[in-house]
C-alpha cells in the first residue's frame, strides 16, 4: 500500500453472514476532500460496508487503511481516529436531552478524568462548559439550538435527524459516514442537507470527507464527487456522477428502467383523477 494514500481506503473487503455473502472484494477510496457516495439496491451491503469501517463487523477478507496506515477499527475508538457516523435509523439516546446527545458526541475532546469528575473539580466543570458550548455551537449551526433542552422523542423526525447529524459532527471528524441522512426528509430539508454535505470537505475549520449512503438520487447526484455502486456485495460501477447516471448496469440494477424518480416532468401513466368511482 502506498504511503501517499490519503483518507480512507478499503482493499478487497469481504463479509459473510453464515451462507450469505454481504460484501465480496469491495475496494474503494475516500480522499480527504471529497464526498463519496455509495448506492445500490436494498441489501447490497452498503450498511455492512459502514459497519466494517466502524469495526462493528469483522471482515473475512481485505484490509482498511487510513492515511496509508492499516486500520483495525474498534467502534469506541473511532471518534478518536477522526471518524464519525450516523445510523440508518436515528439512534438518539432517548433518555438524554438534545444538548446532552450532542455532548456525548463530543466526549472525545473531554480531558478531565474520573477522579476530577467524582470530586466535581473545576477541571471537570471546565470540560462540561466547553462541551456544552461546543454542542450548542453545532446545534446552532444546524438551526436546532432552540430545541437543546427537548427530549428527542417529542421532536419531529427532521429535527431528530439533524440532532443525530449534530452528534456525529460534535466529535470534529475528518471523515463522516452518513447512512441515509435524507430518509424521511422533505424537499427543503434535503436541499439544506445537500448544501451542508457539499460544504463539509471544504470547511475552513475541520474539513471533513464524507462517505454517503443514500437512496435519494437527486441528493447523491448533487453532492458526490465520486459514486460507487454496489450490487450483491460487489462493486459494479464507480466514477463521477455523470458517468454513473448513464451506466446501464446501474440503471438496470438500481435506478430502474421505467419510472424516473424525478417524476415531475413525466406524464402520469394513466389519467387518474380524484374522486374516481370504484370497484367494490
Amino acid at each position: 500500500m502506498a504511503m501517499t494514500e490519503h483518507g480512507l481506503a478499503m482493499h478487497g473487503i469481504g463479509v459473510r453472514f453464515g451462507g450469505l455473502t454481504a460484501l465480496d472484494g469491495v475496494s474503494l477510496q475516500v480522499p480527504p476532500d471529497q464526498v463519496v457516495g455509495v448506492i445500490g439496491p436494498n441489501g447490497a451491503g452498503k450498511t455492512t460496508l459502514f459497519n466494517v469501517v466502524c469495526g462493528l463487523v469483522e471482515p473475512a477478507a481485505g484490509a482498511l487503511t487510513l492515511d496509508g496506515r492499516p486500520l483495525r477499527p474498534r467502534p469506541h475508538r473511532l471518534t478518536r481516529l477522526g471518524i464519525a457516523r450516523t445510523l440508518q435509523g436515528v439512534g438518539l439516546f432517548a433518555g438524554l436531552t438534545v444538548l446532552e446527545n450532542v455532548m456525548v458526541g463530543a466526549t472525545n475532546s473531554a480531558r478531565a478524568g474520573f477522579a476530577p469528575a467524582l470530586l466535581g473539580l473545576p477541571r471537570s466543570d471546565r470540560d462540561e462548559r466547553r462541551l456544552r458550548a461546543h454542542a450548542l455551537t453545532i446545534l446552532d449551526g444546524l438551526g436546532v439550538a432552540d430545541q437543546a433542552g427537548a427530549a428527542p422523542g417529542t421532536l419531529p423526525f427532521a429535527v431528530r435527524k439533524r440532532v443525530a447529524l449534530a452528534r456525529a459532527l460534535a466529535s470534529r471528524p475528518r471523515l463522516l459516514l452518513l447512512d441515509e441522512p435524507a430518509g424521511g426528509l422533505g424537499a427543503e430539508d434535503i436541499e439544506a442537507l445537500g448544501e451542508l454535505i457539499r460544504d463539509l470537505p471544504h470547511r475552513v475549520e475541520h474539513p471533513c470527507a464524507v462517505l454517503l449512503v443514500e437512496h435519494h438520487m437527486d441528493l447523491v447526484m448533487a453532492v458526490c464527487d465520486q459514486i460507487v455502486v454496489l450490487d450483491f456485495g460487489r462493486v459494479i460501477a464507480a466514477g463521477p456522477p455523470e458517468v454513473i447516471r448513464d451506466d446501464p448496469r446501474v440503471t438496470e440494477a438500481y435506478l430502474g428502467a421505467t419510472v424516473e424518480q424525478s417524476g415531475a416532468g413525466t406524464p402520469t401513466p394513466d389519467g387518474a383523477e380524484a374522486g374516481r368511482g370504484a370497484t367494490a
Partner: protein
C-alpha cells in the same frame, strides 16, 4: 423545553469577573457542597428533635441510601439490573466486622479506626464489584438478573462454608466505640449513629451527584439508551458498564458497612435475596434513574414496614384470627401498596412529585 439555551455564553467570557454567586453556580463542587451542608444542618437539627428510635431509623435510612443511590447509578442510569446488591452490602458489612474485630484483637482503640474500616469496606466491595461487573458487562436483561441472583444467594453459602472466618449462620459481632467523650457523657448512642451514617451518606451523595452531572454520568445513560450509538460516539461500553458496577458496588459496600456498624453485628440472614429485591423495589418505587428517587426509596425501606405495622395495629384482632393475621396482614398491605404505587405512579414517587410540581407551576403561571 427552552431552558438550557441560557447557557450559550462562550466559555471564555466570564471567568475573571465572576462574582461569588456566579462561582457557586458555575462550580459543581461548591453547589453540591452547599446543598450537602444544608442537608447536614437539617440532619443534625433533626437528630436533636427526634427520639432515639427515630434517630436509629434515620441512621438506617442513611445507610440504605448509600446502597440505593449506588443501585440507582447502576440500574437507573446505566440500565444494568442487579438482584445481587444485598451480597455487595454483605461484603462491606463483613469487611467492617472483620477489620473492627482485628483492631479490637490487636488492642488498638480509636474512634477513627471506624473510618478506616468503612474505607476498607468500600475498597473490598469495589474489588468484588469489579469482578462481577466484568462478567456482567457481557450480559443483558434476564441473564444479568440470573447471574446477580446467584450472587445474592451465595452469601450464606460463603458464610457457612468459611465459618471460621465469617462465623457461619450466626455471623460476627462488630465492636464499635461509643460516641466521643467530647460530646458529653450522656450523648445518646442513637444520635451518634445518625451522625455517623448521615455523614457517610452525605459524602456518598455528594460524590455521586458530581459524577452524575459529569460526562461519566452522561455516558452511563447513553449506554443505557443505545449501546451501538454510544460506542460510535466514542464510549467504551464495557468499561462504562464495569465502572457503573464498581461505583455502585462501592456505595453498596459502604451502606452494608454502615448497617453493620448500626447493628453491631453481621449475619448472612440479614443480607438475603429479600434484601436485594427490596433494594430494587426501593429505587423503582422511589423513582428509577434519579438520586432523589433513591432517597425516597431508602426512606420507604425503613418507613413502609413500620407504617404497615402501625396500620395493622389499628385493627384489634381476636386471638383466634390473630395467629394467622398477625405478621401476614402487614405483608399483604405492603404488597398491595407496591402494586398500587407501581400502577398509579409508574415513575415512582419522584416522578409523581415532579409531575405534581409541574402542574402546580403551570397553574400558578396564568
Amino acid at each position: 423545553m427552552n431552558a438550557p439555551t441560557r447557557v450559550t455564553a462562550p466559555a471564555s467570557a466570564a471567568v475573571g469577573s465572576a462574582g461569588r454567586g456566579n462561582r457557586l453556580r458555575r462550580s459543581t463542587l461548591l453547589r453540591h457542597l452547599a446543598v450537602a451542608l444544608v442537608a447536614a444542618l437539617l440532619l443534625v437539627a433533626a437528630s436533636y428533635g427526634l427520639e432515639p428510635f427515630r434517630n436509629f431509623q434515620l441512621a438506617t435510612v442513611a445507610a440504605y441510601l448509600c446502597a440505593t443511590a449506588g443501585l440507582t447509578v447502576l440500574t437507573g442510569l446505566n440500565g444494568q439490573l442487579s438482584l445481587g446488591h444485598g451480597a455487595l452490602m454483605a461484603t462491606g458489612a463483613y469487611t467492617v466486622a472483620l477489620t473492627q474485630g482485628r483492631f479490637l484483637d490487636s488492642g488498638v482503640t480509636s474512634g477513627w479506626l471506624l473510618v478506616v474500616s468503612l474505607l476498607a469496606s468500600v475498597l473490598v466491595t469495589v474489588a468484588v464489584g469489579a469482578v462481577i461487573g466484568l462478567a456482567a458487562a457481557r450480559l443483558r436483561g434476564p441473564y444479568l438478573a440470573g447471574l446477580t441472583l446467584a450472587v445474592a444467594v451465595v452469601v450464606p453459602a460463603v458464610a457457612i462454608t468459611f465459618d471460621g472466618v465469617f462465623g457461619g449462620e450466626q455471623g460476627l459481632s462488630v465492636p464499635v466505640e461509643p460516641p466521643p467523650l467530647a460530646l458529653g457523657p450522656y450523648f445518646p448512642y442513637e444520635r451518634w449513629q445518625a451522625w455517623l451514617a448521615g455523614a457517610a451518606m452525605l459524602l456518598t451523595m455528594l460524590l455521586l451527584a458530581n459524577l452524575v452531572r459529569s460526562r461519566f454520568g452522561r455516558a452511563l445513560r447513553a449506554v443505557r439508551d443505545d449501546e451501538v450509538a454510544a460506542r460510535l460516539a466514542g464510549i467504551h461500553v464495557g468499561r462504562t458498564q464495569v465502572l457503573a458496577f464498581v461505583v455502585s458496588a462501592g456505595c453498596a459496600g459502604l451502606g452494608g458497612g454502615l448497617l453493620a456498624v448500626l447493628a453491631q453485628s453481621v449475619s448472612p440472614g440479614a443480607f438475603s435475596l429479600t434484601l436485594s429485591l427490596f433494594l430494587l423495589m426501593a429505587i423503582v418505587i422511589g423513582g428509577l434513574g434519579s438520586l432523589a428517587g433513591a432517597v425516597w426509596g431508602a426512606v420507604l425501606l425503613v418507613a413502609l414496614p413500620d407504617l404497615t405495622h402501625s396500620v395493622t395495629e389499628l385493627f384489634t384482632l381476636s386471638p383466634s384470627v390473630a395467629q394467622r393475621w398477625e405478621g401476614n396482614l402487614p405483608l399483604a398491605i405492603f404488597g398491595v401498596t407496591l402494586i398500587v404505587v407501581m400502577i398509579a405512579a409508574p415513575g415512582g414517587i419522584h416522578g409523581l412529585l415532579t409531575r405534581a410540581g409541574r402542574l402546580l407551576a403551570r397553574r400558578r403561571r396564568p
